[in-house]
Symmetry: none
Amino acid sequence: MSSARLSERILEVFDDLTRAERRLADHFLANPDSLVLHTAEEISCEAEVSKATTARFFKRMGFPSFKTAQRMARRGVEEGDGGKRVFSDPVPRRTGRGELADHLASDMQNLIRTIEAIRSDEMSSAVMKLARADKIWVIGFGDNYPLVHFARAQLIKVKPDIRIIPLGGFSVPEEFASITSADTVLALAIGRRTRMMRSILQSARLAGADAVSITDQVSGAGLDLADVALRCRTNGLSYFDSLAAPVSVITYLCMAVAERIGQAAAERLRYIDNIHSEWGDP
Amino acid sequence: MSSARLSERILEVFDDLTRAERRLADHFLANPDSLVLHTAEEISCEAEVSKATTARFFKRMGFPSFKTAQRMARRGVEEGDGGKRVFSDPVPRRTGRGELADHLASDMQNLIRTIEAIRSDEMSSAVMKLARADKIWVIGFGDNYPLVHFARAQLIKVKPDIRIIPLGGFSVPEEFASITSADTVLALAIGRRTRMMRSILQSARLAGADAVSITDQVSGAGLDLADVALRCRTNGLSYFDSLAAPVSVITYLCMAVAERIGQAAAERLRYIDNIHSEWGDP
DNA sequence: GAAAAACACATCATTTCTGAAATTAATATC
DNA sequence: GATATTAATTTCAGAAATGATGTGTTTTTC
């Protein structure tokens, strides 16, 4: 997808954009298709900057002009994502020396930048949607699956009905069929996008359920389909992305949900603790 | 905590800071104590802005002056941080307001302290044991299970035989019987201790396998039984512990293992990516 | 209490940002 | 194919931001 190309370019330089440029950047991150669908003027208006700024912006991003960027984007979309991966060589991104201190610095950056970028109204909206859900469906494929487990482990301490998808070898549609409009979906969509996730989010919307997604910044999967999207930074120094920031965000999210639910959550926690005691776990 | 006060204020207005101010903001988020410890000039230098900018920054944040802000911060620290928290009661530890900024500060502390506490020889020993293992057994119960998934997801990209315990409904002893002295156990033992973990580590030792454990500071489970123990800090502000630091450590560990294995790891990663492509995953 | 350091405040020169308006290119319409 | 229309780009001037410098005040430190 071509919009990923722009999003990525944006993120590379995001930290030293001017304020107007940042408004534009935010706009494109939130609406990855905007460049393809709208004119420079509309975009400028939408992002609340002048046309001049929009024009300059694309030059600054390395394109010869807005027009060219748009053309590239449109072409890219047309040919579809025909195997043209953005990370041309996905393997050794950077041959980091892998010093522990560097890793720490990198993850701290991830944390800070992630929290900076999350708007508090988005966060509280996410919390509310999860708190008042009847059931919560935690969904994630591939590398996200550990996060699924993780989110469920926290949430189950606080709410009684947390389901995860995919589960064991069970068929997804059959499982997911029990979703209702009183439920909320928590979509973990970091990294590689899957069509399954897309389908599920569409079904969720169809069923009238709320959806909260946690994505990295590049991934557009679910961004448009979820009601709230919390973007996390996952830059790793070497082979792997780091999920420290998403984990931190999820922890906060669950904690906030627990606090929102309040009394009920506390009792449930106590109850769980009792069971542990009865079973003689130390 | 007083520094959280500033962090909070920073996050509130972060979106419309200028670039130099953002550099300052980042600096303070990354070094919450900086305001208390350093002079305006040092801070300016550190954040790579002029003194004038630093002065203006604090006015813009609503303080009468830099000096006042510093004084307030210092005062806050003295009186505020007196009480050390105890984790005796697992349920409502502290009725934190759960502000995002506090959470960020807390997780950064966790990260920093964790990395500080890990000796580099321990780490490299752990890496070596994992890198040269024939099979790796990733083990963890309860809340650790997400970490198990997580570690396996990373390691399987680099080595061909990573097993996890517990698995599905399979009986642990039957599974674990295939361990040999050429294997390495990666024990994830944060939080509640289980006797199962203890038993497994004993069996591993009996079989002559190496064991690396990742624990929190409280848990002694496996500390004595593992050859290397990496301690992580998991202090959470409220109901839940935060696993951000363990995740970060595991990420580093896996990355280091990958680098140590080198060529083979890179090829395996490429191979996996090819399969993804063949399957048409974007 | 004197010297030194840190700071507040004001001023000014530069640089950078920004939007409005003018210009040019592209596209549609007849 | 000429013209009307719209979109994109460039120009330009004002605004904002930034850093440098200088001066007087407060705070430390000895």
